[in-house]
Structures are given as C-alpha cells and as structure tokens.
C-alpha cells in the first residue's frame, strides 16, 4: 500500500520534472542556432488567423457588458463619469489578458495539441529525431516564441475593442457623458496598468504554449491519445491561466 503510494508519488514528481525540463529545452532552443524564423512566423500567422476574430468578438461583447453593468452600477452613486476609467482598468489589468488567453487556448492551443499529438502518434516526431533534427527546436520553440509575441498583441486588440464596446454601450446607448469617459481613461490609466496587462499576457503566452505543446508532444499512442491530449491541454491551460493570474495580480498590484 505504502509502496504503491510511493510509486505514484515518484511517478508524479518525475512527470512534473519532465514538464519543467520540456520548457527549459524549448526556451534554450529559442536562443540556440539554427534559428527557426520561418517556422515562428508560420506559427504567428496561424495563431493570429485562428484567434483574431474570436478575440475581437469576445473583446467587443465583454466591453459592451462592462459598459452596461458599469453604467447601471455607477449611476447609483451618481458617478457615471468614472465609467471609462472602470471599463478600461478592468479590461487592461484583468479581463483582457485572461479572456484573450482563454480564447487563444480554446482555438489555437487546442489545435496545436491535436496537431502535435497526431504527429506523435503517427511517428512523425520520431522521424524528425532519426533525421537528426531536434523536434523540440523544430516544433516547440517556434510555438512558444510565437505565443510570447502574439499574446500581448491579441490582448491589446481585445482591450482596444473592449473599450470601444464599453463606449458604444455606455455613452452611445445609455447616455453616460462622453467627455469624462475619454478623459477619465487618459488621467487614470498609467503605465503601470498597461505594464501589468503586458506582463500577464507574456506569462500566459508561455504557459499556454508550454502546456499545449507538452500535452500534444507526449500524447499516448492509442486511438484516444490525441483527443485526450487535446482535452487535457485545454483544461490544464485554463486552470493555470486563472491560478497564475491570481499570483501575478498579487505580485504586480
């Protein structure tokens, strides 16, 4: 009994070690030549193409909801003028990075896990190894790098469209004052708020690519291997996004 428990613990620790080593190798291969610029650009294109409209759409509606809820709440205190500040800060500091990361996970991250999983199960990854091509450098590093670049950009897109959505609903539809909406944002949103959002996006970019690549890369060679890898990748990414968000927020406040 204790022996079995011990075996399980050792298994888990070994798996965690694997997981960490995987990221270390991927990051090491980002800085080690030969550089894979073309592959990185291809990954950027596919993350962008897959997630652009989704991120924009979710950003728009999130901003619109914030405009609506914010207006109704602030009106009770007679401070409709703060609407712009509230919408912008909530988006830039919190909802922008988190929801963008979740959307990219759902779209591009799951596709990535499925793609690498199928490459694993059909021995394409082994084929790379036998050709003396480092599969981590060829497959994983470009994806991690593309994540680090694309997450902040897509988060920025989310924020801008979200603030516009909040303005359309709050000012355009509900009649909050338009001048204070804009001026509030100008006066109250500082570099620190923007930096917080960017740091979060960078961390989420690494986490999501790390998890999705790891799960796909280590998919089991069974009929259900790829689908399990994909599901696990999405679930674990989502959990880690929200958990690391809490810790990042408490550090960056």
């Amino acid at each position: 009994m204790i022996e079995r428990l011990g075996a399980v613990v050792i298994d888990r620790v070994a798996a965690l070690g694997d997981f960490v080593v995987f990221l270390a190798q991927a990051l090491f291969c980002v800085v080690r030549p030969p550089y894979k610029f073309r592959l990185t650009i291809r990954q950027l294109r596919s993350i962008g193409a897959e997630s652009f409209f989704l991120v924009a759409l979710i950003g728009l509606f999130t901003g619109m909801v914030l405009g609506l809820q914010g207006y109704n709440t602030l009106r009770r205190f007679g401070s409709e003028g703060a609407l712009g500040t509230v919408v912008a800060l909530v988006l830039v500091r919190e909802l922008g990075p988190v929801l963008t990361a979740l959307m990219i996970t759902a779209r591009a991250g799951s596709a990535m896990a499925a793609e690498l999983g199928s490459m694993q199960s059909t021995e394409q990854i082994d084929a790379l190894s036998v050709m003396a091509i480092n599969p981590i450098q060829y497959l994983v590093s470009p994806r991690v790098l593309a994540g680090v670049i694309s997450f902040p950009l897509l988060t920025g897109l989310f924020d801008v469209i979200g603030i516009w959505g909040g303005w359309v609903v709050g000012v355009g539809l509900m009649g909050a004052p338009g001048g204070p909406f804009i001026n509030g944002i100008r006066q109250n949103m500082g570099g620190h708020d923007i930096a917080t959002g960017i740091y979060k996006a960078l961390v989420f970019g690494v986490v999501v690519m790390w998890v999705c690549c790891y799960k796909g890369y280590n998919a089991e060679r069974m009929a259900t291997g790829v689908s399990r890898a994909t599901t696990n990748a999405v679930v674990l990414s989502s959990v880690l996004i929200l958990m690391s968000d809490y810790f990042l927020t408490s550090i960056l406040l």
Partner: protein, 266 residues
C-alpha cells in the same frame, strides 16, 4: 544448427548487436538479440509479427534505449552516447517507418525534399532535381503536390522510401517497405533497394514479410523468434540449414510469440 553470427568481422560490419535486451512492463520483447550487418550488404530480418522487429530497428536508430546489451555502429558503441554524437551517427541513416511517418502538413515534394532543405546547403534547383529523380525511381512522378492524406497506403510508403533515400544514406533501415503493395510494386521496390544499395554501396537492414521473395534481393537473413535471432547468416547458408522454426514460418505456420496485439502500428 548454431546461430551463424559473424563475430569475427566486427571491424567490417556496419552494425553489430550483442545480447540486446529490452522489456516493456512485463513483456520481455528483446531477449538477447545478436546481429551483425556487414557493410555493403542487405540484411533482411524476418519473423512473426509482434516478435519485436520494429522494436529492434528503433534500438538501432536510437529512438529506444536497451536495458542491457551493446550496439556498435561503424565502430562506435551507441547505447550510451550523448546527444551530439548520436545526431552525428544519425546523419548516416535513412529510415523508412512501418507506417511511413510522412509529415501530413506537407506535400510529397516537401516531404521528400525536407532532409535536403533542413540538413544540407543544396540550392533550390539541385534539390528539385534530386527530388524529381528519386520520386521517379519509386514511381511517384507527377505526385509532387499531393498531400499524404490524398494517397493510398502503398503510395505513402513509396514516398516515405523516397524520403529515406534522398540524402543517400550510408545505412538504410526499412521497416516493411513492401507491405501493402501489389506484387509488381513489391518487385520494383526490391529492385530499387538493390540497385540503390549497389550504386552507393550502402548497408541496408530491412524488415520484411515478403518471404521468400525478398531473399532473392538479400545478402543475409536474420530470423527473429522469441526475442532472439534464431538464425542469422548468408541467404544460401540459412536456407540450407533447414531450421525447423524457420521452415514452419516460411510455410506460414509459425507460432509467433504474439503478445496482445500492438496498440499502434509500430
């Protein structure tokens, strides 16, 4: 008769395997494999399916590590070497996986050109010429722009063979190159492997179920059974030895050591 293993010739054998053991869980798949593949010859490994032929090849190309035993390739013990040395050895290899392992996001042309694009400094024109020539040799001219998913299993296998040959490897490993091909194609592939082997004087290790047809194109036969090489030697010698298990296998009556059917086509 004793297994005829060319022990004296470690110097002129491209691959020497000694007492290789590997288990998966409770299953002892390789149980003391000995094998010598002389340079410039085709060694064909035959044996009931599930007996560990693919596992053996994956040890030779260092995708798997043995529990114990030794593998010497071109004079270098490879079971314990580091990553850089391993990749240097692998530069000599061309490998055809049992299920092809073509990159399914790439066209046939891109697949076959891949090793040249990634690992050599050849120019575009030269790469295109080499690819066209190799595709012609495997009978896939005109298929350059097809994706693997648009081709039959046999065509995929031939494309994978072209990819294995494109870099003119010194050591060619083929895992069932002709399974799933019609007799004419099978004959062509055998001829091609033989011709390539002669032209570039390469060493080939081939797993094949096309017995006895394949023997005509082989220099040596290794018959694997129960996790070991039951016999291993020049074709005529092996055929003359009248090994009982081997003859049963040839007659299609071999009792494999088939464990549970493999979950994957590995």
């Amino acid at each position: 008769m004793e297994a005829t293993i060319n022990n004296n010739g470690a110097g002129d054998a491209a691959i020497v395997v000694r007492n290789l053991r590997r288990r998966f869980g409770r299953q002892q798949v390789l149980n003391g494999v000995d094998l010598a593949c002389p340079r410039g010859e085709i060694t064909t490994i035959a044996g009931p399916s599930g007996c560990g032929k693919t596992v053996l090849l994956k040890h030779l190309n260092m995708l798997l590590r043995p529990d114990t035993g030794s593998i010497v390739i071109d004079g270098l013990e490879v079971t314990k070497i580091g990553e850089r040395e391993r990749d240097e050895v692998r530069e000599k290899f061309g490998m055809l996986f049992q299920a092809g392992a073509l990159f399914d996001s790439m066209t046939v042309f891109q697949n076959v050109a891949f090793p040249l694009v990634e690992l050599t400094a050849l120019g575009r024109g030269e790469i295109a010429d080499r690819v066209a020539e190799t595709l012609k040799a495997v009978g896939l001219q005109g298929m350059e722009n097809k994706f693997p998913s648009e081709m039959s299993g046999g065509m995929q296998k031939r494309a994978a063979l072209a990819r294995a040959l494109i870099r003119r490897p010194k050591i060619l490993m083929l895992d069932e190159p002709t399974t799933g091909l019609d007799p004419t194609r099978t004959h062509q592939i055998h001829e091609l492997v033989r011709a390539t082997q002669r032209q570039f004087d390469l060493t080939a290790v081939m797993v094949s179920h096309d017995v006895p047809a394949v023997f005509e194109y082989s220099d040596r036969i290794a018959f694997m059974h129960g996790g070991k090489m039951e016999i291993n030697g020049p074709v005529e010698q092996v055929m003359a030895a009248h090994n009982e298990k081997f003859e049963l296998f040839l007659a299609g009556k071999a009792s494999g050591i088939d464990g549970p059917p493999a979950a994957v086509a590995s």
